[in-house]
Amino acid sequence: MKSKIQKFFVMLSAGITFAALLFLIAYILIKGIPNLKLSLFTWKYTSENVSMLPAIINTIYMTVLVLVIAVPLGIFSAIFMVEYAKKRNPLINVIRLTTETLSGIPSIVYGLFGMLFFVTALKWGLSLLAGAFTLSIMVLPSIMRTTEEALKAVPDSYREASFGLGAGKLRTVFCIVLPAAVPGILSGIILAIGRIVGETAALVYTAGTVAETADSIFDSGRTLAVHMYNLSSEGLHVNESYATAVVLLVLVAAINMLSGFVARCLDGGTK
């Protein structure tokens, strides 16, 4: 009897979760798909066509910029933490505490910091660059964390074998350990891309909300998620904002699927 009740509640919770997700997706698709018009993808944004193409291009710029900043930094700090720092090095605990705290901070706080520091103090103005640095700080902990886990998962026997052949630390880390950790690192990066694409709060006050394609990294420009936020908060283009939501949803879903696919592919290649 007791186990029946337990089972019932477990099934119920799972059902509610799944139903909520399904409802959300179906709702967005039903509202959005009929509103997908070619004019939403025109090259130039005007307040009549509310084109999202500039925002899509800005999103790509932003993603690339953030990855260029955060991925090398994240990977190198993870390598330092796992391969170089001595186990009892106090620095390790400081870094760990910092990254854990960073990953718990709401993104609006990053936005505020980015505005005060990059936009105002460094005088970068509202720009893709300021937004990218803000987002980099935001995704750095998770890239570091996943890379650390991936490096730790590489068996020590690989390291031993490499040292045993007379390879140095540098060669061992970069030619043996890092390649073996690539699937894990990659899935971390793709997760980060998902966050970048979906982020609004940290970007509104740093990269700004200009609806045109940015000419350079010192230009302001809104990403797709910010674009959607603006459309729906202005209240004049609700239908178009649903259409934008569809595109965003498909994008994020595709990125998540890609993450799983890449990890499987790379795993399959080595096993």
Binding site: A161, F163, L165, G166, P179, A180, T270
Partner: protein
């Protein structure tokens, strides 16, 4: 007897725990020396002192000398990279890199600066032939090494060790995880290799020591109890403890 490696009063501590108690031993060139003894007596530790793999473990203290070709490998001016190139190692569990068979063997020579494709091709073929694996893998050199069987993987690891042309190969129970057929293949291989290399192997398997080793050393609780020609050590052990061990009374 021409000793290629000689340890003198070698003592080793992990923290406060002394694991090697003044080991003095000579290892002759182009012979197979077997290290035997019960688990935990320090065989692996001793083996690892011979190419300084213990450097990788924190909290180790070593006193005494290990002379390789008459030079102490623990003196400060020794280049550990070069030393490990000359004294290679094959581990207990096969540990090929997660790369292609070809890349596994080419990694060592590349590490030491060989870039030419034809030269690498030559080394890969020669090493795989020397480890009796060539015929089995020559048509799939580009496939992952992790797809090989355990015995094949271990022979690949031997090929990888040979690829940098060492003079000494250290083997730590390298057949312990293999089936009898694979073990037999590797034993045959070692008998052939000893004309070119000096082999020092740890083994748990008395029969294996008798079958293939020329010399044998018996370790017990961090001490070298007895060493000598395998024949003599098994036929007429000088020490009571050796006799007890080889007749299977403990271990």
């Amino acid at each position: 007897m021409n000793a290629i490696i000689e340890s003198r009063n070698l003592k080793l501590w992990y923290g406060d725990h002394q694991v090697l108690k003044s080991i003095s031993m000579e290892i002759p060139e182009h012979e197979i020396t077997a290290l035997i003894g019960p688990s935990g007596c320090g065989k692996s530790t001793f083996l690892k002192t011979l190419n300084r793999m213990n450097d990788l473990v924190g909290n180790v203290r070593i006193t005494g000398e290990v002379n390789y070709n008459g030079k102490n490998i623990y003196s400060p001016e020794v280049d550990v990279t070069k030393l490990r190139r000359e004294i290679g190692m094959v581990f207990q569990k096969p540990n090929p890199f997660p790369m292609s068979i070809y890349e596994n063997v080419a990694y060592g020579p590349k590490t030491h600066g060989i870039r030419s494709k034809t030269e690498l091709d030559g080394i890969v073929e020669e090493s795989l032939k020397a480890s009796a694996l060539w015929e089995e893998v020559k048509d799939r050199l580009k496939t992952s090494a992790l797809g090989l069987s355990g015995g094949q993987q271990q022979r690949l690891c031997i090929a990888r060790a040979i690829s940098v042309h060492p003079s000494v190969i250290l083997m730590d129970e390298s057949t312990a995880s293999l089936d009898p057929v694979s073990t037999g293949k590797i034993e045959d291989l070692l008998m052939e290799l000893k004309s070119q290399y000096t082999v020092i192997m740890v083994t748990h398997n008395m029969q294996q020591a008798v079958r293939i080793s020329d010399r044998c050393a018996f370790f017990l609780m961090g001490e070298l109890v007895e060493s000598g020609s395998t024949e003599q050590l098994f036929a007429k052990p000088q020490d009571k403890r050796t006799e007890a061990y080889i007749t299977g009374r403990f271990g």
